[in-house]
C-alpha cells in the first residue's frame, strides 16, 4: 500500500540503531529508498528541535532508534528520548501535523532484521499520511 516513497530521516544512536543499520547494509537487506541516517552518540543527544528541523526541511517522516530500556550506555539517555518524542507527538498533533509521522523504536546492535522491519512499517504509516505539506 505504498503509494509514494516517503523521505525518511532516521536518528540512530551509535550503540544500537547505527550498528543495526550497518549490519543490515552488510547483509544487503532491502531498506526504504529515500533514507537519511543521522548518527548520534546517544538518544539523549537528540533535541526536539532536530526532529522539527527534519520535518521542516522536507522529511515526510522521522524514525528515532534508541537502545532498549536498561541498555543505554549512559544509563537513561534513551528514557529521555522517549519522553521527548512522546511530548513532541502531542505537540505535533496540536499543531496540525500528523503524529504518525514520528516514531520511536528500541533496538539493539544485533537486530538488523528488526531495523528493516521498523523502517518498512514506518514507511507504510507515513505514506498513508501522504507527502508532508510545508507552509
Amino acid at each position: 500500500m505504498v503509494n509514494f516513497n516517503p523521505k525518511l530521516v532516521v536518528f540512530a544512536c551509535e550503540n544500537s540503531g547505527m550498528k543495526a543499520a550497518e549490519e543490515a547494509e552488510k547483509l544487503k537487506l532491502t531498506v526504504p529508498e529515500k533514507l537519511t541516517i543521522v548518527s548520534l552518540p546517544c538518544g539523549g543527544r537528540l533535541d526536539t528541535a532536530h526532529i522539527l528541523k527534519a520535518l521542516e526541511r522536507g522529511a515526510d517522516g522521522v524514525v528515532v532508534l534508541v537502545c532498549h530500556i536498561d541498555n543505554c550506555r549512559y544509563l537513561h539517555g534513551n528514557e529521555r528520548t522517549v519522553k521527548r518524542v512522546n511530548e513532541l507527538k502531542r505537540l505535533l498533533d496540536a499543531a496540525g501535523i500528523e503524529p504518525n509521522r514520528l516514531t520511536l523504536s528500541h533496538i539493539a546492535a544485533v537486530e538488523p532484521a528488526k531495523f528493516v522491519e521498523i523502517l518498512n512499517s514506518a514507511c507504510e504509516k507515513i505514506s498513508d499520511e501522504g507527502r508532508i505539506v510545508n507552509y
Partner: protein
C-alpha cells in the same frame, strides 16, 4: 572504556578501597603488587573468616592475605576508617575519612567500593515467634563451631524468600552432611533450587546425597506447625506432586540475603546508581561486572551481587586490574569526544550538572560558568541537548553537524 589518544595527567594515583570483607585485601594486594599506593578502609573483622565462609582453603588464604597486607609499605589499612564524603573526578577524587574522632582528607585517582551482604531471618516466619526449634543457618553454623549438640531430626530450609545465593546452598549442604555423619539421625534439605555453582559444589551435593542427606524440591510455600515437642513441616514435593509432611526436632532456615547496609550511603556519596534490589551499580551490561557510571569508581564483591566467596576474590582482583588500566601510568585517557561549555552563554542553571549521568560537570565560581571535566566526560551529549541556553557543544555532534548530516541527499 575510553578510546581516544588524548590524556590528562592524574592528580593522584593513589587508590581508596572501601569495604567490608577479605576481598578488599585481595584487591589491595593486586594493586600494591603493581606498584600502586593503596588505602583500605575496612573493618578489622575483614580478615577473620566468619563461620559460614570457613573452609580449609579460604581460611588459609585469608590468613595469608592478612599477613601479606600488613607487611606491605604501600598499603595503609585503616580498620576503623569510614568514608564521610567524596567529590571530584577520575584522577582527582577527594575523600574524607573518619578515623576515630579525626577526619582526614586525601586525594585519590580511583575509588573502589565493596561490602558484605547482611542477612536477616524473617521474624514471623510461620507465626511461631522465635521458637527454640527454629534457628537461622548462620546460627546453626556457629552452633557447630561451638560443638553444641544437634537434636534429633534436622531439616534445612532454603529459598523461603526469593532464591538464596549459591553460598547458602554450599553452607547448608556442608553442614547437613556433617550433622548426618556425626549424629546419624534423619537430615533433610528442602529447596526450590540446588545451586551448586560454587567450587566443589557439585561434588558436595553428590557426596551429601550419596551418604544419606535427603533433598526435596518444593513448590510454593512451606508451612510449619508445632506438633508437641517437635515441628511438622508441610510442603508440596515438585517431582511427585504429593504433599509431604516431615517431622523435625530442629528447623534450620537460611537467612534472606540483602545488599550490604552501606550500599545506600555509598550510592548517595558517589552518585553511583543502585539496582532494583539495592546493590551498587545499575543493571546495565555496559558496566558489568566492576565498572560504574562514573569513571574511576569501581565496585567488586558483595556490593554488586551476593553470593560466592571465591568469586568475590577474583572479582576484587579483576577490579584492581581495571583500576591499574585506568590509572597505572599516571594518566587518564580521555573519551573519544568531550563536551565544552561556552561560559558566555552559561547561566549556571545547573541543569547539566543534574542531568549528567557521569558526574562530569563542575561549577567554576570565578568564570561564573559550568565546566565539563574532560577526565570524567563520556561524550554522550545529554548535556548538550538539555542545556536551555544552548551553551554546550559536543565535538562532532553540534547542532550544525546534525543539520548537515540530515540534509545529505537520501
Amino acid at each position: 572504556m575510553a578510546d581516544g589518544s588524548l590524556q590528562v595527567p592524574a592528580v593522584s594515583s593513589r587508590v581508596l578501597i572501601v569495604g567490608g570483607d577479605i576481598s578488599c585485601l585481595a584487591a589491595a594486594e593486586t594493586l600494591a603488587g603493581l606498584g600502586m599506593d593503596v588505602m583500605v578502609c575496612s573493618p578489622a573483622e575483614t580478615a577473620d573468616t566468619p563461620a559460614w565462609k570457613r573452609t580449609e582453603t579460604t581460611s588459609s588464604e585469608h590468613n595469608r592475605l592478612k599477613e601479606h597486607i600488613l607487611s606491605l609499605s604501600n598499603v595503609r589499612w585503616i580498620p576503623d576508617g569510614t568514608i564521610q564524603s567524596l567529590s571530584g573526578f577520575a584522577g582527582e577524587y577527594r575523600a574524607s575519612v573518619q578515623i576515630g574522632k579525626n577526619v582526614t582528607s586525601d586525594v585519590f585517582g580511583a575509588v573502589m567500593f565493596s561490602g558484605t551482604c547482611h542477612h536477616i531471618l524473617k521474624p514471623e516466619e510461620w507465626g511461631l515467634g522465635k521458637a527454640k526449634r527454629i534457628i537461622g543457618l548462620r546460627e546453626s553454623l556457629e552452633m557447630w563451631e561451638d560443638n553444641k549438640q544437634f537434636p534429633g531430626r534436622v531439616i534445612f530450609l532454603l529459598d523461603t524468600g526469593k532464591d538464596d545465593p549459591p553460598d547458602a546452598t554450599e553452607n547448608t549442604l556442608g553442614l547437613a552432611h556433617r550433622v548426618l555423619m556425626t549424629y546419624g539421625r534423619e537430615v533433610s534439605v528442602l529447596c526450590r533450587n540446588m545451586r551448586v555453582s560454587t567450587e566443589g559444589g557439585e561434588t558436595l551435593y553428590r557426596t551429601a546425597r550419596g551418604n544419606g542427606v535427603v533433598i526435596y524440591k518444593y513448590r510454593g510455600n512451606v508451612s510449619v506447625e508445632k506438633a508437641g515437642k517437635c515441628l511438622n513441616v508441610n510442603f508440596e514435593d515438585e517431582y511427585s506432586n504429593i504433599r509431604l509432611n516431615l517431622k523435625a526436632d530442629l528447623l534450620v532456615v537460611a537467612e534472606e540475603t540483602l545488599p550490604p547496609e552501606t550500599a545506600v550511603e555509598l550510592s548517595s556519596l558517589s552518585g553511583v546508581e543502585t539496582d532494583a534490589e539495592g546493590y551498587l551499580q545499575a543493571e546495565n551490561v555496559w558496566m558489568y561486572p566492576t565498572l560504574t557510571n562514573r569513571r574511576g569508581i569501581f565496585v567488586f564483591g558483595e556490593i554488586h551481587s551476593a553470593g560466592d566467596g571465591a568469586v568475590s576474590l577474583e572479582d576484587a582482583r579483576a577490579a584492581a586490574l581495571e583500576v591499574y588500566d585506568l590509572l597505572g601510568d599516571g594518566n587518564i585517557i580521555l573519551g573519544e569526544r568531550v563536551g565544552t561549555v561556552d561560559s558566555e552563554k552559561c547561566a549556571v542553571c545547573l541543569t547539566c550538572l543534574r542531568s549528567c549521568p557521569h558526574g562530569a560537570v563542575s561549577i567554576n565560581g570565578e568564570e561564573q560558568s559550568a565546566e565539563i571535566v574532560k577526565a570524567a566526560c563520556y561524550g554522550c551529549g545529554i548535556c548538550s541537548a538539555i542545556c536551555p541556553a544552548k551553551a554546550i557543544t559536543l565535538e562532532g555532534h553540534t547542532d550544525d553537524d546534525v543539520l548537515r548530516l540530515m540534509d545529505r541527499p537520501a
